[in-house]
Symmetry: D2
Subunit: 297 residues, 4 copies
């Protein structure tokens, strides 16, 4: 891994593809897909499958080495679709490891998550591009400056929200952003914007959902006297704090913890849970079905 030999970076050039599939369950899907890869001289690196027996839906992730694969990469999708995808009524996605995720980070006034994400990218732990930071406040422009990143300030009011979001969408599209991370961004994203980025907006909420949705979850946790605080990372949908959960974490608290203490303890929880979710997404390990996630780890 690059990060570990930072000074003498000798990255092995990798050349592989990841296929994510779901379709109605039936016999023989695994055999058919692995046969497709095998026959065409692909070497399977990772294979994971799951069947939801309630819904009778089949899920699969396959990652294989393309070095000796006989189908040219630009035609793999076509061939797969024709030979297998249509036959099994598959919903599928195909990714190549050299196509980096382009991630925009949305923030408000808290910096712990954005610092954590920028550090992961800068150190080489995350192999992503971060073309911009967007905020509804100017307070954290300094963070973008420290890391030499473009910072866009879109102040949001009730009146200008629709308009500002349109500008944001344009900017994001223009820069080919394909992942939006809400790193303690304290604004609700409207439906219009969500529909432009389906399953491509990840939020971190500072409670173990479904407990304490909405505003001020640490205050509610304190009031209720819980012994664990939590954080939840999820894809954003039209229902506030009700999208498909990607990752959750908790930390112990006690009667000694004030609301402020809970907030402080929550900082690490939030940044770790968010990072876990983003990592799963950029590794192409996530599938969304029926408002739940399948995470192939």
């Amino acid at each position: 891994m690059d990060v570990l030999i930072q000074n003498k970076m000798i990255t092995k050039k990798q050349n592989n593809a990841t296929l994510l599939i779901y379709c109605p369950d039936q016999k023989g899907i695994v055999a058919t897909v692995t046969e497709f890869i095998h026959k065409n001289n692909g070497n399977i690196i990772d294979l994971d499958q799951h069947v939801d027996h309630n819904e009778e839906v089949f899920f699969m992730r396959a990652k294989w080495d393309l070095d000796e694969f006989v189908i040219p990469r630009e035609k793999i999708g076509d061939y797969f679709s024709t030979l297998i995808g249509e036959r099994f009524q598959m919903n599928w996605q195909l990714y190549f490891n050299d196509q980096k995720v382009r991630m925009a980070i949305f923030i408000s006034n808290l910096s712990h998550c954005v610092y954590d994400m920028l550090s992961r990218q800068r150190s080489g732990e995350w192999d992503v591009e971060i073309p911009m930071i967007i905020s509804n406040h100017e307070s954290l422009k300094t963070v973008a400056d420290e890391f030499g990143l473009p910072f866009f300030h879109f102040p949001i009011t009730k009146e200008n929200k629709k308009e500002q979001e349109q500008k944001e969408i344009e900017l994001l599209k223009k820069h080919n952003v394909n992942l939006i991370v809400l790193a303690r961004y304290m604004q609700v994203i409207s439906d219009d914007m969500i529909q432009q980025f389906p399953n491509k907006i990840i939020n971190i909420h500072h409670s173990f959902l479904p407990a304490f949705p909405g505003a001020k979850p640490y205050h509610s946790a304190y009031e209720r006297g819980v012994k664990l605080i939590g954080a939840t990372s999820h894809y954003v949908t039209a229902d506030l704090d009700a999208g498909p959960i990607i990752a959750q974490g908790v930390a112990p608290v006690s009667h000694k913890d004030t609301v402020e203490n809970m907030m402080r303890k929550g900082l690490d929880l939030e940044k770790l849970v968010l990072a876990k979710a983003v990592w799963a997404h950029i590794q192409r390990q996530t599938l969304v079905y029926n408002n739940k996630t399948i995470i192939f780890e």
Copy 2:
């Protein structure tokens, strides 16, 4: 500890007192209480204090060795009350370590918690008395039989509930029961009974409250697609699943887990979280204030 030398039990005879206090906060309480113990030749073994600055309430637990204490144990309460308690408007409880908790276990059809609790008592880990097991079903009478414990069957219907609970209360009082543990007892306890045992009924609920209160929490957790399941142990109050929380725990789940798997993984969680709460109670480490617990660990 006895449990560790089971065969050659050489228990050190201990002779100590535990004092639990809360009162309006003011300067000098710690100094006054520790002075009281010190001047009368008590050796403090454990001391813990907490101030709730929102409510301006002071909480304290002190445990001290009675061997050379000059006040006779039957008079400690009187002296303490007269010299200190009244002056500071204290609410206080005094316990001696040789007064064992007498615990009744209420169960329905699931045996994992009751087995766990009986094992802890039988192995010497818990120094308590268990005069009886009570159930609304007969299915687990075998467990009581295995451990040679009295088993009382009180089938509950809408019609007979009040009457049956009266009989239970009589039985419990007759046997000097001072702690009721609802070990996955699938019946709501009515207010009348709760008032007979204030802060002396401990329940285990199979979710991380306040998420998923009420019936079938694992089904709800599955539906929501959470990545953690939980268990919560709390004192029982008139509000269902809303009493003061004593202990909580979680365990990871994934898209692979069916409802049945979650239930299975929950078994360990439930028994451990319940055991943690009961342990805190029998060690006299718990205080209840304002529907929250202070746990002096």
Copy 3:
């Protein structure tokens, strides 16, 4: 799951096979094995594979429904071996879900693990047979009596060890025992006995190995001032406390914890880590290679 409906036990009759494989890695193994199951009308329930790229070894676990499988179960092994196993130089094991593990529990003077295991079996959580408890002491005969199980007392001295172990082996073989669980059994098992039960003896050691092997790990942990205590469950090999690790767990400790406290906190850790390892074994999720385990969860 049976345990959850104890009173009205309606177990779905299941009929499935589990195949565990390892062999030199090469392309096409997954495709070939899944094809074998698929072509013969087996429905794959679980499939998991792993490649150790250092050793170039392929590992796989497949579980499938036998209801419509066209090869009779007594011939599956033969067919598989002839058609696939030999060709890929496979080391394989085949299990049917109705062949219950027959487990003997070895204990000394501590009862927490044995109580936990018996409870799991009795409640239906573990679908195993426990034909006997063996101990080098008589102190815990009461536990066997409570659960109505045969108890065999084999006191061990330096002089009689070889002889006593021979008697134990005979007894175990006579009762078709195929798993031995050392539930805090405080005797080293000699090589002769281990060779009779290769990868079929599971031990629980009360530290996070490789830290603190051998005797008195809690004392050593206390001396070193660690902030976590641990427990490790592993298959027993000729090297003391150095066999393939199946499961590990830790629990926080602090400066407040005496050695006795660490021992008490360790009780839960030991029983849970041991139970996790035994569960993996009885679910046929474990493979041993190169003194490490592959655990297909």
Copy 4:
């Protein structure tokens, strides 16, 4: 907390003192110390005590509000020493909350820990001063530049080590550094330097000590097939990786994890465990006795 209202920073000016004590145990210490604070009009904010009954040593941490305290802060030490400290043969330290820790960060080629620490300081989570970053390599000068911090490069060879360390010591003393954090600094600190900063050098080691001390712990963990990797933060002493442990953490790994994966998973572990230890130190919650730490949380 500042971090939570970054934009409209309204810090309550606090004025308090923290006293850390240890001495031979005897009756009445708590009463005497709390009386001292109380009589002089100090309001106790936090009080924690511990008795090591093996060593018969008493430990205490007291934090109190100075607003109405009648002894001037520059004389508190004198008065305390004369009235109480000498009488009880106390070893004591006194800190005021407005004296910020001045921390130097030592790094080599890995940036995750230093990024994490700088982010915590920059966001206001840690109220410390960081006058410099020191490294034996130049590779991470960029990190210092991003945050606008002085970066000093001291390349170390066998030959120049003594000399270079002398220069480092001078530089550190000149800038009143009172805490050195080795944030994956891959050089052994020599005794001379350690003696200049007793219990003021914190290291992070990438294993759960005492397992896998020394070089390449992840490789050793992989070889042994452990199911948990760990990290340990400790004060540096003359014995390599054997100093008093402040904090430890673990993370699960499986047969799927290569050495590189373990290293990646270890990044979060290392930065969190180190941050936990540094937090305890800067909150004045740590005492060292007998090569162990007392952590008053």
